[in-house]
């Protein structure tokens, strides 16, 4: 019997292939397959495909998923800050920094000498309000530190006078300026400024030299370490690669021998 209800009917074919549906229907389709070579071949070939599908297995892997409940969060002593809005936190931080700067006597200045940051209470006040100047000068006229300052000034002048004849390396203009006569205040200040500048230049030169030495040493050490690491990796790769190649060759040899 070649029942056309079953030919080209994937619904019936698939139900039969997967052993689904009522028994009578299956029996009827089996009877059809005995009569219809085309449907029989179709069922056989699809059954073979199903057998092939069994060869596809996912790779082994470690699956270790677990649901773990988090413990109750510990309340932080700073937890209240998270409830504050960002602007409030920013304002509080600015206030704290401002108060701290005021207490520490922070002074930040940027000029020809670069950026200068100073802290502490011992810094002289650079500027005063205009209306306060006469009062401050009047108050400072008979201050005890004026005598100390005058003594220090005299001592410095004396030392400079003594050092001038021995200073062969002094610039000609300065030697002429300091040659045997008392220096004016302007010359004295210029001389002090020159000495300070020379000292700063010398310090900078020494610092640059030290830095260059440190950088050179660090670079040399880094290169030596990298070379050692590269050598170590090369040795390791050589060893593991040789062992792996040996094992593969042995297995392939066994494979070939077993096939003969």
């Amino acid at each position: 019997m070649n029942d056309s209800r079953y030919c080209d009917n994937p619904d019936v074919l698939i139900s039969y292939l997967y052993e689904d549906g009522p028994g009578e229907e299956r029996l009827a389709f089996e009877a059809h397959l005995r009569q219809c070579a085309r449907c029989a071949a179709e069922v056989a070939s699809l059954r073979a495909v199903r057998e092939d599908l069994a060869a596809w297995a996912p790779p082994e892997t470690v699956l270790d998923f677990r649901i773990v409940r988090d413990p109750a969060p510990v309340k932080s002593r700073w937890g209240w800050t998270s409830a504050m809005p960002a602007w409030a936190q920013l304002a509080a931080a600015s206030l704290v920094i401002g108060v701290a700067a005021g207490i520490s006597g922070l002074e930040v200045r940027y000029g020809n000498d670069g950026l200068i940051v100073r802290t502490g209470w011992n810094q002289p006040v650079a500027t005063r309000p205009a209306d306060a100047t006469p009062v401050a000068q009047a108050e400072g006229a008979d201050a005890p530190w004026r005598a100390d300052l005058a003594a220090l000034q005299e001592q410095l002048r004396g030392e400079i006078r003594q050092s001038v004849p021995a200073a062969g390396a002094m610039p000609v203009s300065m030697a002429a300026a300091g040659g045997g006569r008392a220096m004016s205040d302007a010359e004295f200040l210029a001389r002090v400024k020159q000495l300070v500048e020379a000292s700063e230049a010398r310090t900078e030169r020494e610092m640059a030299l030290r830095m260059a030495e440190v950088v050179r040493d660090m670079d040399a050490q880094r290169r030596a370490d990298l070379r050692r690491v590269a050598d170590g990796i090369g040795v390791l790769e050589g060893r593991t690669g040789a062992v792996t190649v040996q094992q593969r060759e042995m297995m392939n040899y066994l494979m070939r021998v077993s096939q003969k």
Binding site: I14, C39, A48, D52, L63, F65, R66, I67, M251
Partner: protein, 198 residues
């Protein structure tokens, strides 16, 4: 006596997290297999398994038990796989290597009943099946995977894919027909030549 999935789900909804871990232990392998066969990449499959269980755990209070827990989990997994494929804008990736490493086979795959040659043949066929499956449309591939490897009924697949029963059977038939053609083209199939043109 084995505790059913539904009982474990009820316990978990009542607050027993360990019951859900038992469900994970029971279903992580099938879910991983489904995700791997859909995506073809081990790392992606592992990520999907983790996401699927996490989503299921979070959505468990809303699980009404209208479908089986496993069907619900399969649906979540297939949705996540679809997301991964859409994000990557790609068809399933066939991860199997070109050659078969005999050393690997000897160390892990052979059993007393199966020779090295058998293992090599099986691995080779598996690789061709993976490649052929990657050429199927997503719905056909999912239908075949759920039927062949997970044993779902036509009705369960229909509910899971949201389509009529006849559509599921058509997808299976068309998918198997394409697989047969692909495998015969590679000369790896045990299937005889097809008798009718789809």
């Amino acid at each position: 006596m084995t505790v059913t999935d539904e009982e474990l789900v009820a316990r978990c909804i009542a607050g027993d997290t360990e019951s859900f871990n038992q469900l994970i232990l029971r279903w992580e392998r099938p879910i991983y297999a489904l995700a791997y066969r859909q995506l073809g990449r081990e790392e992606d499959a592992r990520d999907v398994v983790q996401d699927a269980f996490l989503r299921a755990f979070r959505a468990l209070p809303g699980f009404k038990g209208e479908a089986k827990f496993s069907s619900w989990l399969y649906r979540i997994t297939l949705n996540l796989c679809r997301d991964v494929m859409r994000r990557a804008k790609r068809a399933p990736f066939v991860q199997a290597p070109e050659g078969v490493d005999v050393g690997d086979l000897v160390s892990t795959e052979t059993t007393a009943a199966e020779s090295i040659e058998d293992v090599v043949t099986r691995k080779d066929l598996g690789r061709h099946v993976a490649r052929a499956m990657s050429r199927l449309p997503e719905e056909q591939r999912a239908a075949i995977l759920l039927k062949e490897y997970h044993g779902l009924t036509f009705q369960e697949i229909a509910e899971l894919q949201g389509c009529p029963l006849s559509t599921v059977k058509t997808r299976l038939y068309q998918g198997l027909t394409v697989l047969r053609r692909e495998l015969q083209r590679n000369g790896t199939s045990t299937a005889r030549s097809e008798s009718r043109t789809p």
